[in-house]
């Protein structure tokens, strides 16, 4: 094999939902755009597996945190656009603060980077 995959971080269970909601907070987006946005805004550290992305979108849609409709993309492609609903926005706030608390707590446990 000539091209080795760069060493990327695997997404923690449940964090994909949070990242999708966060991405959609910036404006409506289609599936490919969401995946790319997550990848780019994480400096290519996070790779969204598409096999997980669409079921996650499906799940969020079922919970009515996001809504979807067909539209036209920047380069004139038909695509299914997702946008955050009102309940989704609330959910994002809750999830974000919970994540920050969790991340902070884990950081304190691990302590400063020494070794």
């Amino acid at each position: 094999m000539s091209t080795r995959e760069p060493d990327r971080l695997a997404l923690l269970q449940g964090t994909l939902d949070l990242l999708i909601l966060r991405t959609l907070a910036l404006g409506p987006q289609h599936g490919q755009g969401i995946a790319r946005a997550i990848q780019e805004s994480s400096d290519d550290e996070l790779l969204v597996e598409h096999g997980a992305l669409y079921p996650a979108l499906q799940r969020l849609e079922a919970q009515e945190w996001i809504a979807a409709e067909w539209g036209v993309s920047d380069n004139n492609r038909k695509a299914r656009f997702y946008k955050l609903t009102k309940t989704g926005r609330k959910r994002l706030l809750v999830e974000t603060s919970r994540w920050r608390r969790l991340a902070g707590a884990i950081g304190r446990v691990l302590g400063p980077e020494t070794a």
Binding site: Q32, E49, Y54, P55, S73, N75, R77, A79
Partner: protein, 875 residues
């Protein structure tokens, strides 16, 4: 709620379009980076990953997936099974055999042992008997004792027994129609029906005053007789019919399910005189009060022993050894069949195990062949549980089809069994396949399907997609786990088969031992039949005697008849058994005197049977009623009571008859009671000198002819009808037929277990063949290398055979061990063969080992024919 769900549902087409859009947008991006059109699309697709998996997971979230999966699995299973018709046929047939045998045996066990008796509250019914008569299982009691017991129970409100009845069965001559007919009559007390709580279909049963002498001219008909002889006309109730030359009024008709004592055509009151009560043996049935426990009933009946013995205070001799006991009625009625049925259940269980192993093995072979397919499916993202459920669906489908076919086989088997039940399993009620059998079959079928589906499923889980795909190119080392599992299954099959083979061998050996046993008489060319002298015309000894003499005289003069006699027809003893005294010897302590059978025979009895005279003479014309009493004894008698001296000239007497009789002859021992009974001492008396009148006069005819004894039956019936048209000849059979029938249940046991064992061995051989063939396939390249390096063909075959021999040896060792552990359950069915008979064990092992080698033959030959050049090319 439903509406909302529907609103949320998206079509999968919509989802597909979304994914297509995703890939196109992605491709646009790559194109913008300078890729060619094709390259961009391909890269976008690769980046997306498994489209189908996404789709499936999308699908997962919105449907009753299991239903879709089941339908899909079923469709695939049907298609795959149809694609390999040979494999499917073998698997379905195997299951059908196993399930069929299991269902058939279960239906017997269910009918005999599990299904409750058809009377109300059957658990309250007990058989009561005296251990003195007939032993601890199917005992009977003296009629006089029954009356003592009933009086005691009824006079004591604290007794746990509510009611007790007595019954017996015998034959009667029904002389109503154009042709006299012999019928089976239950002779029962009035309390018999009330104890069983059996209500008649029409009319009534017996009143208390009707089971006494004088009031007994009444009869209750069975449903079958009523249908057969009276066309089901209920107006027969209240009319008279002629039985044993007397009139009896039909007072009731029992429903069809009432068959007790078994086979009764009609019921008559058991009306006994005081004298008869001291001589008749009866069966007793008791009903416990609803509140009574089993222990209370047993205890109460045992306690009654003392009450009965006290009644005997002036007849100490009769009180010897009296001990009453109670057993649940169902156990007593099925007592004789129980050991055989338990053995069959065990055998069929083993066979079912083998069937499971066989099909598991077949499934494994299939899974092995499909490793690539399964690996590809795993690689394409099929979840493991989907593959397992697919395999389980396939095995369940096979087992359900096989189970349905098996139930069909069971129906046929049960029909065949019912046709032969008179001789095969005597005492067996009509067997039927009912709901519980069907339910049992279904459960066994599903369990079987799951059991043999699990092995390949585990196997398929045991390896990852990558190894399997890689293995494909290097076959020699592949599937070691699967192969090991198949070997274990085959060894288990072999072991179980050997256990069954040994069991069948033991039963067959004891059957053939008896079959070829010299009965001590010549059974060939002898016709036997019975005539029962009933009614007022034959109550005197003189009349009975005259009838017998005339009959013998007329029969002897028929063409082809060499000799005719009257006496007990072997196998079977009908006569008295009791103690006697030998002249000149001191009286032994009470109850320890010499005992013997006392049988009454006509002049030519020994000549007809071809029993040799060993000493002295047999009966002669001169041994008339007025001449001194003489008896002829058998060798067993002479050996046991006159050791070291001649029995001739000694005088003996039985206590009930005070005349002394001189022993004038000794005849050879023969198996009077049955081939599987040891010869007991017998003293024969001549009819001429028998003074007492028989209460149940029955003439058992034995006729020796030149040839074709069965051809004489019609002539014999005509002769008897010519003498007295109300005396039917019945139960006419050749002596050989009787001998054969007497071994019927043994033959049946041996044949049934033998069939199981053969099927088992055949299945195990198929298993060995499968494993060995697979081994040869795996090692073809290795064999090629060996041949190329100069190995001899024989060495190659040896290489393959070694594995077969190893499997066989382990199987034989396990099977022999299993047989050693299990064969003791056969004890009750064996005769003259030990449960650890070395010959049988050895022979069974040799047979099984032979089957293993035979199964190795074809794979071995294939190994020997491997062409090194071709084999090497495929490495």
């Amino acid at each position: 709620m439903r509406k909302q769900m529907r609103k949320q549902m998206r079509g999968s087409a919509d989802f597909s379009r979304e994914i297509e859009a995703h890939i196109r947008i992605e491709a646009d991006r790559y194109r913008a980076q300078g890729m060619s059109d094709e390259e961009a699309v391909a890269t976008a697709r690769r980046a997306f990953g498994n489209v189908t998996k996404s789709q499936e997971r999308f699908y997962d979230s919105r449907r009753w997936l299991w239903w879709d999966h089941l339908r899909q699995d079923l469709r695939l299973a049907v298609r795959l099974l149809a694609k390999t018709p040979g494999w499917t046929a073998v698997a379905v047939l195997t299951v059908a055999l196993g399930i069929g045998a299991t269902a058939a045996i279960f239906s017997i066990v269910n009918t005999v042992l599990l299904r409750p008796l058809p009377y109300p509250h059957p658990k309250q019914l007990y058989a009561v008997a005296d251990a003195k008569f007939g032993g601890p299982i199917s005992g009977v009691g003296l009629a006089a004792d029954y009356f003592v017991i009933r009086e005691n129970i009824r006079g004591r409100s604290s007794s746990p027994i509510e009611e007790i009845g007595a019954y017996d069965s015998g034959g009667v001559n029904w002389t109503g129609a154009d042709r006299a007919e012999r019928l089976v009559a239950g002779q029962v007390t009035a309390s018999f029906f009330t104890t069983l709580q059996a209500q008649p279909l029409y009319g009534r049963t017996f009143l208390p005053e009707e089971d006494k002498p004088g009031g007994d001219q009444v009869v209750v008909l069975s449903y079958l007789l009523w249908q057969r002889r009276f066309g089901g006309d209920a107006s027969i109730v209240g009319k008279s019919i002629r039985i044993d030359r007397g009139e009896a009024v039909v007072i009731g008709i029992m429903p069809a399910w009432f068959d007790f004592p078994q086979g009764a055509d009609l019921w008559r009151p058991l009306a006994l005189t005081e004298g008869q009560k001291m001589m008749r043996l009866v069966d007793m049935v008791a009903r416990a009060k609803a509140s009574a426990s089993d222990a209370e009933v047993q205890h109460d009946i045992e306690r009654l022993t003392q009450t009965v013995v006290n009644e005997y205070s002036r007849r100490q001799f009769l009180a010897q050894g009296v001990r009453f006991f109670a057993r649940p009625l169902q156990q007593t009625l099925t007592g004789d069949l129980r050991p055989a049925l338990l053995v069959f259940s065990g055998a069929v269980g083993l066979m079912l195990l083998i069937v499971c192993f066989t099909v598991a093995n077949l499934m494994l072979a299939r899974a092995t062949a499909r490793r690539t397919e399964i690996a590809v499916r795993v690689a394409l993202g099929s979840p493991r549980r989907r593959i397992v459920s697919q395999l389980l669906t396939e095995s369940l489908l096979v087992s359900l089809i096989g189970g349905a076919a098996g139930l069909g086989l069971a129906v046929l088997a049960v029909q065949a069994l019912n046709a032969t039940r008179k001789t095969a399993l005597a005492g067996l009620p009509e067997v039927s396949i009912d709901v519980s059998t069907a339910a049992f079959t279904l459960i066994v079928t599903v369990l079987t399907g799951i059991a043999f589906g699990i092995a390949p499923s585990l196997g398929s889980l045991g390896f990852g997609a990558r190894e399997a795909l890689q293995d494909e190119s290097r076959t020699a080392s592949s599937g070691a786990g699967l192969r090991r599992m198949r070997q274990i299954l085959v060894v288990a099959q072999l072991g179980l088969s050997l256990t069954l083979l040994i069991g069948a061998g033991l039963l067959a050996k004891s059957f053939y031992g008896l079959r070829t046993r010299n009965p001590g008489y010549e059974a060939k060319n002898v016709l036997t039949a019975r005539v029962s002298l009933a009614g007022a015309a034959y109550t005197s000894r003189q009349r009975q005697h005259e009838f017998n003499e005339t009959l013998l005289d007329r029969v002897s003069r028929l063409p082809g008849v060499e000799a005719a006699g009257i006496g007990p027809i072997p196998p079977g003893i009908s006569g008295n058994f009791g103690i006697f005294a030998i002249e000149g010897r001191p009286d032994p302590p009470l109850g320890q005197g010499p005992t013997s059978w006392k049988l009454d025979v006509s002049l030519d009895y020994f000549r007809v049977l071809g029993v040799p005279l060993k000493e002295g003479r047999t009966f002669a014309r001169t041994d008339s009623q007025d001449a001194p009493l003489v008896i002829v004894v058998n060798e067993a008698f002479a050996r046991q009571y006159f050791r070291g001296e001649s029995a001739l000239g000694h005088r003996v007497t039985s206590y009930t008859n005070d005349d002394w009789a001189t022993i004038v002859g000794v005849v050879g021992d023969f198996h009077q009671a049955g081939l599987d009974q040891e010869v007991a001492p017998v003293a024969y008396r001549s009819f001429e000198q028998v003074a007492d009148v028989s209460m149940t006069p029955r003439s058992n005819l034995l006729i020796r002819v030149a040839n074709d004894p069965a051809g004489l039956i019609l002539t014999l019936e005509r002769v008897a009808a010519g003498m007295d048209r109300d005396q039917p000849v019945f139960d006419a059979k050749t002596l050989e037929q009787r001998l054969d029938d007497s071994l019927g249940s043994r033959r049946f046991s041996a044949a049934l277990t033998g069939a199981f064992a053969l099927i088992a061995m055949f299945l195990a051989s198929i298993g060995v063949y499968g494993v060995m063939s697979y081994l040869v396939t795996l090692r073809t390249s290795e064999i090629g290398i060996r041949l190329a390096l100069g190995a001899q063909r024989g060495q190659v075959v040896g290489l393959i055979l070694r594995e077969g021999v190893a499997l066989g040896l382990i199987g034989v060792a396990l099977g022999a061990g299993g047989a050693l552990g299990l064969s003791r359950y056969l004890t009750a069915l064996l005769y003259g063969v030990g449960t650890r008979d070395a010959e049988t064990f050895g022979a069974a092992a040799v047979v099984l080992f032979g089957a293993v080698l035979a199964a190795c033959y074809v794979p071995g030959r294939r190994a020997a024919r491997v062409d090194a050049a071709i084999a090497l090319r495929h490495i």
